[in-house]
């Protein structure tokens, strides 16, 4: 199986307070920010690696995972980390952050799919910076491929996947035939969430995203990293323009209520939610 996994770097979510908007609201200040891979994208990569190996012998690859990111040269770091974790090849689409939005990225990915011809595009369900949750869906539409979003479990079957989707109150199973688009949710990295055809169903992974093993870190530099131009992939696509940024209003301090009656009355009369 060949899988394409798009990765995005985001401002370190553990240091979200460092994200600042200048007084004129013209942009988000990015100097001095620490970048981390978007956690959901790391989960997607983990799931993709599990689908292309036998869990018992993960050093032998049984498929190909190609990671792709959009950004300036410094985003190579994000790709190298993915290569160190186990991805086989990387592509960076050279561009500036301002040139991107969900639609542009989806169009460029659709174009990449034409040449890469993956069986599956596996994405994080959303990036934790803009939280837009749309690239996977737009991409499936552009490609006219079957799609399963918010995957909590994935099982490989002959010619397709059985995907357990997170829905309110449970997990909803769908079958998709290759080629397909899948977006992953939090639980996709649990110990028994993803099985390739090769991996024994009794096998348990360690919870979470695997570590980049030291020998693999040292090999990452030797793995292929291809650079493409955004203009070649998404020529003439319109980009959303942001008019103004503002921080969300500060949360007001809470209050203590005497009893349930007061709570109900306040919810009804002040908050007007009942």
């Amino acid at each position: 199986m060949k899988i394409l996994v798009p990765l995005k770097r985001v401002a370190d979510p553990d240091n979200a307070n460092k994200v600042k908007i200048p007084a004129d609201g013209s942009r988000i200040e990015t100097t001095g920010l620490e970048w981390k891979p978007n956690p959901f994208d790391e989960y997607a990569l983990e799931a993709a690696l599990r689908l292309t190996e036998d869990g018992k012998a993960p050093k032998v690859r049984a498929g190909e995972v190609v990671v792709v990111t959009f950004g300036p040269a410094e985003t190579d770091t994000t790709l190298r980390a993915a290569l160190a974790t186990g991805a086989d090849r990387a592509i960076r689409v050279e561009c500036k952050d301002e040139e991107l939005d969900g639609l542009v990225v989806a169009r460029a990915l659709a174009k990449l799919v034409e040449t890469e011809k993956p069986d599956l595009v596996l994405l994080g369900k959303q990036a934790v910076d803009g939280d837009t949750n749309q690239v996977g869906q737009i991409l499936a539409e552009l490609l006219d491929w079957p799609m399963a979003t918010f995957a909590a479990t994935i099982r490989e079957e002959a010619g397709g996947l059985l995907v357990g989707r997170e829905v309110d109150g449970g997990v909803y199973s769908v079958r998709v035939k290759f080629p397909a688009v899948v977006t992953g949710d939090l639980r996709i990295v649990n110990a028994q969430s993803v099985y390739s055809l090769k991996t024994d169903k009794a096998f348990k992974y360690a919870d979470g995203v695997r570590f980049a093993a030291l020998p693999a870190i040292m090999q990452a530099r030797k793995k292929p990293l291809l650079v493409k131009k955004l203009a070649e992939l998404a020529a003439g696509a319109p980009v959303a323009r942001y008019l103004k940024y503002e921080a969300p209003p500060q949360r007001k301090a809470g209050i203590k209520v005497k009893d349930v009656d007061e709570l109900v009355s306040r919810l009804k009369n002040e908050a007007k939610v009942l």
Binding site: N15, L33, D207, F211, A212, A213, L214
Partner: protein, 614 residues
């Protein structure tokens, strides 16, 4: 995931990067043999992954290990839940073979990277880290001194985590005085040795993690001279090794008892009985008898720096825990509002006394980190220059020799003091098991005792290291410091701090002269009486120097950043920590030198019977 224990460990990766790349310019050795495979990207990726391992795997087990401890079940040690799995994951990840040579599957990383990876490993779970830590140490002994056959037989399996290793020096009557060991090795006709004896306090002496344990045992051969000169080093497996390299029947090494300790409870400390039934077979490490102490000594520097790292890891963890709590805990109001009973509550970090404790902790932690990385960079430079510029390489090696007792003793003393201060900062909750700092404090106490007590380190410093190479190492060290003082004594921000270093250096030099004088007239006991104090003085001076050195860099870097860049705060912290240490700690060195100069010898003069008449 939810049923799993919570991680409490936190590390300051920003400072780790600063010390490596900005202060000690690791970039200068990267890409050069023997570190040609290493670039900045690999170093940062590695630290990032080791950090993740520390917070996701070993960190969550730290409290578990402390509460569960080890137990002895039918002569076999049972380690805390999760240790075995953590060991497996550690060796899958390859992080423990960072510094191991490529010959044995390692990555031959620069020491400066290995030590900071060591900080993260020890800081997240020092008890767990003892098992792989000693295993690496034991394997390095065989790598350095074993025969070809022994290297083939043991090193790969030990570096790879299939087998563990221990160091067996201590015996009931031979603690600090290693030369008093009486374990005996009788040569057999086939060239092997039959080992008999008792080894006490052996870390990792038994466990249920690996299927074999390779004990490195100091013992006496037939007719060996008295003292350390009569010791030879033996490789003694727990289970006999079969022809195919797998572990076979018992080798007559019995775990007699397990210590119940103040801290590092997840690390087993046992009494081992070798050859009770006359069936314990060992191999001489290398081809020659009576080389044991020399071989051990070669490895001692690394082991002692390793203990310093344990101290750094715990001190940093305790500091960051206390800091997090102090930013959050509301108590009292601002001192400026002392007249106003309705003044808003403030976080305890707003109180001057709490800030003082926290800044003291920060300065100690970051200064000790710089001290350890300094010595590691000296080793890396020595490795890069070897064969190209042996004279300079020798200078670097000499600095490591000199700094090692400071690292071992000062970092371990401060680990205990910093974690004690962490408890104090947090008040009552710091004393409870709801927070990790009381465990840090208990865990840290052992660091000043094992691997040569800090009393022994101080003697090593004054009696051996100061005068080593005809005093050249010390002179070069003081010369480097004097150069820094001359260069930055009128620095616009740090000038007064740097001048304090100059005064302290002069005072320290005075104490050295005083020691020489006493030594010349045979009053060695006066020197010994003051050795610990001197070690602390020299450590504080070095830490003060390295903090000021960092601050000089930080002031420049801060200036170059635009207003509002979050990294400006990081540099501000470096600057303030240096100023604090230079004005609140360094001047004490001058006072301490005065105390030495008085020549007070009451602790010697007091009759032993007069300490108490009960």
């Amino acid at each position: 995931m939810s049923s799993q224990p919570q991680n409490r460990y936190k590390a300051d990766l920003r400072d780790l990067h600063f010390v490596l790349f900005e202060q000690f310019r690791l970039g200068e050795v990267l890409g050069k043999a023997p570190y040609d495979a290493w670039g900045e990207e690999e170093v940062k990726l590695t630290l990032g992954e080791v950090h993740r391992f520390a917070t996701e795997v070993t960190g969550p087990l730290n409290g578990v290990g402390d509460r569960e401890g080890c137990r002895l079940d039918n002569g076999v040690v049972v380690t805390p839940k999760g240790f075995k799995e953590a060991w497996q994951r550690l060796y899958e990840s390859g992080f423990k073979s960072l510094g191991v040579s490529p010959e044995f599957g390692g990555q031959g990383a620069p020491r400066a990277l290995s030590v900071l990876a060591g900080e993260l490993a020890a800081g997240s779970n020092v008890a767990f880290d003892m098992y792989p830590g000693l295993t690496v140490g034991a394997a390095e002994l065989i790598e350095a001194f074993g025969t070809h056959e022994q290297r083939d037989k043991y090193c790969g399996k030990m570096f790879g985590g299939q087998w563990a290793g221990t160091m067996c020096l201590t015996e009931p009557q031979a603690g600090s005085d290693v030369g008093a060991a009486t374990s005996f090795a009788r040569k057999n006709a086939d060239g092997t040795y039959s080992i008999t004896g008792t080894k006490l306090f052996i870390s990792g002496g038994d466990q249920d993690i690996t299927d074999n344990i390779i004990h490195m045992v100091l013992a006496r051969t037939e007719g060996a001279p008295k003292g350390t000169k009569g010791l030879s080093l033996f490789i003694v497996p727990k289970r006999r090794i079969l022809a195919d390299g797998s572990a076979g029947a018992s080798n007559d090494v019995k775990t007699v008892s397990l210590e119940h300790k103040m801290g590092i409870k997840g690390s087993s400390t046992v009494l081992l009985q070798f050859g009770d039934d006359g069936q314990c077979i060992g191999e001489l490490c290398g081809g020659e008898e009576l080389q044991g102490i020399r071989q051990m000594f070669r490895m001692m520097n690394y082991a002692r720096i390793g203990v310093g790292l344990q101290g750094l890891g715990i001190a940093s963890a305790a500091y960051l825990s206390a800091l997090e709590y102090a930013r959050d805990r509301q108590q009292g109001s601002s001192a400026k509002e002392w007249k106003n009973p309705d003044a808003p509550r403030v976080a305890i970090i707003e109180h001057a006394n709490v800030r003082r404790m926290l800044l003291w902790m920060k300065a100690q932690v970051e200064g000790i980190r710089a001290l350890i990385v300094k010595s590691a960079i000296h080793l890396d430079q020595a490795a890069v220059l070897a064969g190209k510029d042996d004279k300079t390489a020798l200078y670097h090696q000499g600095q490591v020799e000199l700094l090692t007792p400071l690292i071992k003793a000062y970092a371990s003393d401060m680990a205990f003091q910093v974690s004690e201060a962490a408890i104090q900062v947090m008040g009552g909750v710091g004393y409870t098991q709801d927070y990790p700092v009381e465990q840090h404090c208990r865990d840290a106490k052992i660091f000043s005792i094992y691997e040569g007590t800090n009393g022994i380190q101080a003697l090593d410093l004054v009696a051996r290291k100061l005068g080593q190479a005809g005093g050249a190492n010390t002179q070069r060290f003081l010369g480097d410091l004097a150069k820094f003082v001359a260069e930055h004594g009128s620095h616009p921000v740090l000038g007064p701090s740097v001048q304090n270093l100059g005064k302290a250096q002069e005072a320290l030099g005075g104490s050295v002269m005083q020691f020489l004088q006493w030594a010349q007239v045979g009053e060695i006991d006066r020197v010994q009486l003051q050795a610990n104090r001197f070690l602390t003085m020299m450590s504080e001076l070095t830490v003060g120097w390295l903090l000021c050195d960092a601050a000089v860099i930080a002031v420049d870097k801060q200036k170059a950043l635009p207003e509002g860049d979050p990294d400006r705060l990081f540099y501000e912290g470096k600057k303030q920590a240096a100023i604090f240490f230079a004005s609140q700690v360094v001047p004490g060195i001058v006072g301490a030198a005065k105390m030495i100069a008085t020549g007070d010898r009451s602790a010697i003069d007091i009759p032993t019977a007069a300490f108490a008449t009960v």
